[in-house]
Symmetry: C2
Subunit: 235 residues, 2 copies
């Protein structure tokens, strides 16, 4: 059995949160658009009937299709025992994952405050103002929230010794914010010791270590969610 | 048994999606900050320990707390039989609900493209550009997606004859977009017959009809998600 993951082939983007969970857990999957190209992805999504996903990424298992990152990860967790195994805690993990979805969307909107239908260079003055707000108000608010969540158990992961897709997603959030805002994240780093301990522990998960050193890990670039535009960064 | 709903007391906002599901299903709840004020909400959220919600709205049932609108609605659906009762379809309903979450966030960001930490009048030039993109590219994309979802069954609701929180949420989306962008929605209305048929059918659900005519339904205003700034609207 192998899942088909459909996501844009040239970026980490939202698909990366799914890739990391699959890779960390050693769950077989085909990254279909990396095999067949972006046009194959667009054709596949357009051809789907019924309650189809609004946008990539989505995961396919035979006739079953599921979209929305947090939803895909909750479903994978349930199927593959990646969660806590208690309903209440699993619901809390989903709540955390949905909050990661929120900050990821906000991070994207920093370089696209006017709209995703226009290029960054056509909305740069707006992005400069959005980035100042995001750096000062939003990054600390979100990181503080996740730091507190990592303090509920004894670490290094949210549940303690067992990692879940929330941890690989928080790892990716730290990676992405550090790529996009290296000066701001450098200035903030010391304030979030649990977050960085978790980040280090995720890199030591066997499947993640193998993935990060493989060519399956697409480098960050300025077509993805996390983009490094130096003019948007400051301490 | 009665739930405690905690949300800002003076706006519909994100809390309204939860209120509508509770009211439609006749599930008892106390709208706590409407009883005790916004400061009580801030005190309650700050005092919570463990994996607490990032932000209102959240629902409390004894020691159990759940945040994130789509997550609250999925949980209520499971507990109170508001969904399809088949796993695959219930997952598809969650996928639709999460896409409503996305468009609601985008709608908010139209009047706050720079950041939620600044007033609208301090980001009006940016909002004018964001609104043009949102009206031309995003509203039709989302409404077309939901129109297609409403065509999977025979209507008037997403599942056919049975309404779910996805329908009350889509009702609220249409209400809110029509309040915020009356000219644009007026121009688009004829293109989405299923969406407007669903909207009408939701107003006829007993609990919803009673709610909409009660003083529990807070009128739309310019502190909420859906704001009517005439300069942001056009056909």
């Amino acid at each position: 059995m192998s899942y088909d993951l459909w996501y844009w082939p040239n970026i980490q983007g939202r698909g990366e949160f799914v890739r990391l969970a699959l890779e960390g857990a050693g769950i077989p999957y085909r990254d279909r658009a990396r095999e067949d190209g972006a046009e194959a992805l667009m054709r596949d999504l357009l051809a789907r009937q019924g309650f189809k996903p609004f946008a990539p990424p989505y995961l396919v298992d035979g006739d079953f299709v599921i979209g929305q990152v947090a939803h895909i990860l909750a479903w994978l967790s349930d199927r593959h025992g990646l969660g806590a195994g208690s309903l209440e805690t699993d619901l809390q993990l989903i709540q955390l994952q949905l909050t990661i979805t929120d900050v990821v969307a906000e991070t994207h909107d920093v370089h696209h405050p006017v709209g995703a239908d226009k290029y960054y260079h056509d909305q740069k003055p707006e992005a400069l103002r959005a980035a100042a707000s995001f750096r000062s108000a939003r990054i600390p608010k979100y990181l503080g929230y996740f730091e507190a969540a990592l303090g509920v158990n004894d670490g290094p992961f949210v549940l303690g010794k067992k990692w879940t897709p929330v941890d690989t997603s928080l790892f990716q959030l730290v990676e992405g914010l550090t790529y996009a805002f290296p000066r701001r994240m450098g200035a903030l780093k010391a304030a979030y010791p649990r977050l960085y301990a978790m980040h280090g522990a995720v890199t030591e998960i066997d499947g993640i270590a193998a993935y990060l050193s493989s060519d399956r890990r697409i480098p960050f670039n300025e077509d993805g969610i996390f983009r490094h535009y130096p003019e948007l960064d400051a301490e």
